[in-house]
Symmetry: C2
Subunit: 505 residues, 2 copies
Amino acid sequence: MMRMGWGDLGAFGEPSKETPNLDQMAAEGMLFPNFYTANPLCSPSRAALLTGRLPIRNGFYTTNAHARNAYTPQEIVGGIPDSELLLPELLKKAGYVNKIIGKWHLGHRPQFHPLKHGFDEWFGSPNCHFGPYNNKDFPNLPVYRDQEMIGRYYEDFRIDLKTGEANLTQIYLKEALDFINRQQASQQPFFLYWAIDATHAPVYASKDFLGTSQRGLYGDAVREIDDSIGKILKHLQKLGISKNTFVFFTSDNGAALISAPKQGGSNGPFLCGKQTTFEGGMREPAIAWWPGRIPAGQVSHQLGSVMDLFTTSLSLAGLQLPDDRQIDGIDLLPAVLQGKLIDRPIFYYRGNEMMAVRVGLYKAHYWTWSNSWEEYSKGIDFCPGQNISGVTTHTQEEHTLLPLLFHLGRDPGEKYPIRFASPEYEAVIKRISPIVDQHKATLVPGEPQLNICDRAVMNWAPPGCEKLGKCLEPPTSNPTNPAASAGFSCATPEQLTAADFNSLH
Amino acid sequence: MMRMGWGDLGAFGEPSKETPNLDQMAAEGMLFPNFYTANPLCSPSRAALLTGRLPIRNGFYTTNAHARNAYTPQEIVGGIPDSELLLPELLKKAGYVNKIIGKWHLGHRPQFHPLKHGFDEWFGSPNCHFGPYNNKDFPNLPVYRDQEMIGRYYEDFRIDLKTGEANLTQIYLKEALDFINRQQASQQPFFLYWAIDATHAPVYASKDFLGTSQRGLYGDAVREIDDSIGKILKHLQKLGISKNTFVFFTSDNGAALISAPKQGGSNGPFLCGKQTTFEGGMREPAIAWWPGRIPAGQVSHQLGSVMDLFTTSLSLAGLQLPDDRQIDGIDLLPAVLQGKLIDRPIFYYRGNEMMAVRVGLYKAHYWTWSNSWEEYSKGIDFCPGQNISGVTTHTQEEHTLLPLLFHLGRDPGEKYPIRFASPEYEAVIKRISPIVDQHKATLVPGEPQLNICDRAVMNWAPPGCEKLGKCLEPPTSNPTNPAASAGFSCATPEQLTAADFNSLH
């Protein structure tokens, strides 16, 4: 799970073809070309993965502004509520040992930490690897082992912003192999959530990979991730546990085109990128691998979602789904093991708004928006080089009475809305409308967790800071309820520039 | 060889993944993600393939207007000059039997026919399968067997424009299998040029394939072609001659986005389409297959060209290159058999102008143009939904003093010109300039063949028409030298509408 675009893999058409290990994983397993995240931004996507629920249900959204994505910068007060049941919490009941390696992103205050929500081990950071900060206005972000911070980015864990050099992916790889070794030795079933972040700006790669890609630094990072995944899969085979281990590769949102060309990725033939509910923002590369169980070289056109990994994992572990709440993820095993196609819609949310829905090959937009004219005029562009009249709108356009309809088979790039008066339009809308009506009628939104910011809650003095002598003095608490701007919960549009976007999102 | 986009193959990232046979061909052979045509329009591309020479040399261009592509509609007076040496003419010297199946496109008057230029057999049409015509203003296009017409499109060879049904690909497949059978039986070396056209508007498929694709009619046509290629390859294997047969799959130009979404294809992540010298117009899907000689599953980043198939074929046949003329194609065998990378530039021509050049991963545009404002205002759009300021220009923009430079690895979509003042720009231009200077200084343009039109030369009375009772009365000769408009040699811009483009190009 990482930020990578659909089009970043050779198997999905990246021209440089620099992902031999992922391509091999696909050749040995099953490729999902129609796999989606639940929100085109990192935190809500990851919250959806681990809860099997839409962010609108699990609280990973903001009501500070309409249709604004929100995440967990270090000013955020909220995080994953205790009332949510996370995948590792449930897997524990079946004896699984659970580890997260990498970016958590479901809240950085101690009560939100992975070990409070079912994980047994953690190596990584609660927030994104932004920085360096001055430890006065903003503290450098901490890196944790389990419940205690063991250092900070840019101090103890270096990222050279000039060269892009950092050996973090190598550390994450070693953590993964060590964890797998230990579980294999003790014959423990395990769940490893390898949530790396090298392709997220600021993009980085270790020395051996720097300069090795045709695609620049971003490609170097992709190559290192690809190499690491190859090593993990080979390790599972070497240990003789690959036939008992279900591995799934996917991404938390589409490539961030705002970071292109140096730190952005590719969404292949799809429209726009991260932050948007166009295909480029929400369709993800996805591969299932399970030698001996999944026949090699399969392609499944099942409409899938990161939330399905919750349900599928419970199914694999022989556990029941929680019956006291709505779960949005479906069990993919019939698709994976028997090649079945399960009819289900995909809902495209942006913040608190259902923007679009996909049913079969059709996608209906109930709202369109790329970003505001105000942001656009500052150089913030989620759809660089792309402009589809009436589709990539810079004002929030409501189409609920007459949704914009696309056929994603004939028109994967969402360029040609189907004519309103056509028989095709009428027949399809008649099929989609009741699905949307039912979704909206039965939806019970969770309490929004990403509304309130407070600089006092930042990572000034994380657990473990005393031992390291790295505690910082927090400022006076001053909770704010800011107008959410694109991709932020804690900044106003006035504070944003394109440069911020390149470094911060 | 056909009109298909880079992104139309599963192996190149088409999301529907509907080309299992071509993907298998790639898995058993070598994929070329950096393979180019010599001109983004059909006739000059095919002339380049068969002569190994740029259209500016072999005469397949017009000087009626600057940077206008031209082809061979049935009004064209010209065709491939006798002074050109075509691949089959040369292969004959090594005992090869040569057949073309499908669209010829190098001139329809008898002196230009395939059998006058080295082919032993022909089944197909001299022009594109446009129509139906009324046989008064325009004659329906003929279909030939060898030197004689055996019928006309829409009369004897049906294409149902409403349903898209036509069984032509099945006929072309049978022609191919029969030819291969005969050569195998007589132990003859052979050259088969399978130049089908089902994905060219008006797109068609046979009954068994209609409605089978997620991508609409265009996808049905792709599926039928894919299926046919699978059958040809299996047939070679069944006959036991696959180890002696070099097979190459490629396309004559990028997908025609003007025909999208119903009859267009996909150029994947690349900019614009057919008619343009952006990557979408000129980068082609390409696969080499030769079991036992080409190791399976290879990817070559060799910059390749359709013109290389001329040189490579001669090399395979043990023949020398003509030494009395400039040949632009290179021998790809070192790339194919030994994985070598040969340093060579790619020149992007549009009509009579060198628009751009690629050297390594860099591409420099000396001219930019999508199409004219006049055409654009009529709905003719070569870059639908794409608009890159200063790049997809609607006026012909010259950049010879300061070329627009792109890094196609970091930026395959040609969205981010490299800054003029940067050290990278200066170093790269220093490397590219002498290559361009030498090309221009030594270029001897051929006599342009596509300048003069005359309705009297149309397919009124092709050889063989008497036997069939299908001779028509030509009008009085009235040669014209029209202002070339986009993609035409014989129409003025005033005569063109978007509808023409959908049916005619």
